[in-house]
Symmetry: C4
């Protein structure tokens, strides 16, 4: 948990390193994706339209509880409100990562009508906090994509309430939101979920599922 | 927009960095691909037969409005004329990127007969300038490949006129041309289109489309 | 073979370099995987929950023959006992690598019911020590995954006895264990097996096998 | 063409850089693959069993026209004789690259019975020296794999005579040999052929060919 200035600075650096690493993997193409950490009641978050391959701590915006930028250059992304929803619904979350990968895009589209992507039977599920066995079924809720961010915020809040144990939420044909008590935990969830999406995706799309 | 010498120098460096990054991703194998920026009435463009993995500013040729090389070593590529066509038909374009990826090659072949690759429903479409919703349908025109560059220039001009809102053009079983008001915008278009080609390609080729 | 302090130090450095390289390839996501070398009767092994992308020699735990940590920070992984089983059943083994790749996860699930993954006819089989022809059939045993590590240890010991010539063992929907007389040999086995899993996986999942 | 000591030194460095780059791409796993340049009547070639990810000029063996090592450490690879055959049948060749990629392994197995992999209609064919149009059909001969290197040498010589315009030869379920008048040309052929193998492989294995 982020408790003081020194920790926050180190979390911000870990967040930027994670964003640059996501760019290198092709998970935040075309200035897509956004990343934040929570420090006290404020949020530090990536502004809109920034190339994540070169993200540095000074690029982050500071957002107050009312959602207004109080420090930093650049404009807040339209998705800033979704981060706010997650921090509200998941009080333990102190870092949020949002990425667009090939496999999360494919699976979020394919499972949009069933409401969630089921992941079950894989050892890598244990990369998700609190999961202690491969026999766990993780349901990653999928909400419909929308450019109406008020609607999207409500749908996201509902999904988080309906799936209290979920470690991530997918927006259909859009991308994944995941989070953690720290950047390291958020990144662990991201790596685990993206690995499982690719395994499930390759299995399902092979016609041998 | 490139307006003076300092900007042009910085655009040239961004162009070369983008070309080297494309090489690292496998998008310009075997000295393929070409890249240019427009500065005033002249064009700075990669010469033929150069390994893009080591492209440096001094490698670029300067081309005058008549299409003749006025500075730099090396021979102009046969595709220089296609850059000229794009700069003429898209007055706002100041950077052009042409790459050969696995997925643009596959989709350009598959959709050659229908005349364009349709891309619709993906959030990443918003990586294309002026597109504000995933509900947008982007049609990426596909023109037949040819070694007759006069023919190819005419077909490219027609495709650009017929699809005034298109952010890129595919040559069948050949590759993608995309552009932007700056190298950064061109690269954003490239990243968005290539991501969408891979998602659509994997979906279509899986037999589950 | 590791015979003295200097060799052990160099093996530990090779082990950490191999772990970081596996992370870069996406084979040990979300702090998964573990790696060890044997020096005399003790084992040096990665602790639980560590990001393998930054593994350094000082991160390793030293384990005595009774399985207790006698030096180093961090907690032993639950899978430490599986390393002990392999070192007991394969007296020549001095390094063990355990990774979770997309293709070993897919194939270990697909072949769980038949008991082993068959690999035959590929030149790359010669990357496995003692194999001198592509006509060799390598059978990589698959044991069921379990969170009962006593059961898993017994199943692993049985698989190693039943397949005395095997160069690796798969845990179903979990990952690969492979080993060598040195880190270099273990890494060669890892590279050969993962290459063959991907080739076989792509062939089988294409519907053209 | 390599004509003097300075050029030879620079070719050797280019060869080693190419080998390390092939390793990074996963094309020479598990110490597989081999690489050579011709300087006068002697050949400089990688010895057997070396990790190509760290290849340096001092690792190369010098082989005389009788096939014996006259300088350098390490043992010649069993495949040294295949390099000799190519240099004999292709007098212009001064560099040879042999790699094992996922897609050349898959296609060489799939087309073993038809005798060659056909590649046609792709712009990237122009990456092969002397090819000036995508309408060219490149036939990459496939010879059966064998551990009898005398037999393999004879089959390779026949394939080279039967396909005088071929830019590479595949060994079934084994890998690709390609070459050039220089390391740069050999690498261009390698990049073009591997790109085309992946495009064709993905198309054929998708069930939509």
């Amino acid at each position: 948990m982020v408790t003081d200035t020194q920790n926050l600075q180190s979390e911000v650096e870990a967040l930027c390193a994670t964003a640059r690493w996501c760019y290198a993997r092709g998970w935040v193409p075309a200035t897509s994706g956004n990343f934040s950490v929570r420090g006290g009641v404020h949020i530090l978050i990536t502004p809109t339209g920034l190339d994540k391959g070169r993200l540095a701590p000074e690029d982050l915006l500071e957002i107050n509880p009312e959602g207004a930028a109080v420090a930093g250059r650049g404009r807040p992304s339209a998705e800033t409100g979704l981060h706010t929803v997650i921090y509200r619904e998941r009080p333990d979350a102190h870092a949020i990562l949002h990425v667009h990968s090939i496999w999360n895009t494919l699976l979020s589209g394919r499972f949009a009508s069933s409401g969630y992507v089921p992941l079950e039977g894989y050892e890598l599920l244990k990369g998700l906090s609190g999961v202690t066995t491969h026999e766990h079924e993780e349901r990653v809720p999928v909400i419909g994509n929308s450019q109406n961010y008020e609607q999207l915020s409500m749908d996201l809040a509902s999904a988080l309430k309906d799936h209290p144990a979920a470690h991530g939420v997918l927006l259909s044909s859009h991308g994944l939101y995941t989070w953690g008590q720290s950047v390291a935990e958020g990144r662990r969830h991201l790596e685990a979920l993206e690995f499982l999406f690719e395994v499930e995706g390759r299995r399902l799309y092979s016609g041998h599922a």
